[in-house]
Amino acid sequence: MIDILLTGEPLNINDCIQKVLAPEAGGIDVFIGTVRNATKGKQVLRLEFEAYEPMALSEMRKIADKAFGIWPLHHIVLHHRTGILAVGEVPVVIAVSAAHRAAAFDACRYIIDTLKETVPIWKKEVFEDGEVWVAAHP
């Protein structure tokens, strides 16, 4: 099962974990992204996420499909938030269940690493004295 979500509402971590539970699974690996309070020593007030929604959903699904092709997995949940997030809030939750832990760990890492490379979602860091689109400039 693959469960993909892009939402302006807070993500429900427990719900993500419940969704990947399976009697056949020997373990669940979960990655929870959180908004950090500083970048290069500069205090971050908040992050603003925006997505090109139809393409982001399609790229998220491609990543999950690819992971299923590489590892023997049971379920994948991939939820991402949009909008304004304060320090400590959760922009992304990935949960993966598999019969054995190695596949769950590897797939979870692959999903977050690939999401950061291919999914059209952008974050702007807002500081006291300005704001920056992350990764936009060399």
């Binding site: 925006e50 090109y52 490379e117 059209p120 689109w133 936009a136």
Partner: protein
């Protein structure tokens, strides 16, 4: 022909809006579009990188554009 180009993230700031209309020669490609946009918006060429997406797929190689295609400029992504 004229194509509508969607903009996100920093490209929305560069275009000054969430989409622009771009006049192109018939049978223009995503590569032609990039060259055209970089002349009009020199700041685009200063980004770390950017991609053209056509109908929700990255144009890794130049693809021919059509007036009804959904075309978007994708600056470096930073989700997660």
């Amino acid at each position: 022909m004229t194509v509508k180009v969607l903009a996100f993230g920093i490209v929305r700031d560069i275009f000054g809006g969430s989409s622009i209309d771009v006049p192109l020669e018939p049978a223009a490609t995503s590569a032609t579009l990039k060259a055209n946009l970089e002349l009009r918006f020199p700041k685009l060429a200063k980004l770390s990188s950017y991609m053209v997406a056509v109908n929700n797929e990255y144009a890794h190689e130049p693809v021919e554009l059509h007036p009804n295609d959904e075309i978007a400029i994708i600056p470096p992504v930073s989700g997660g």
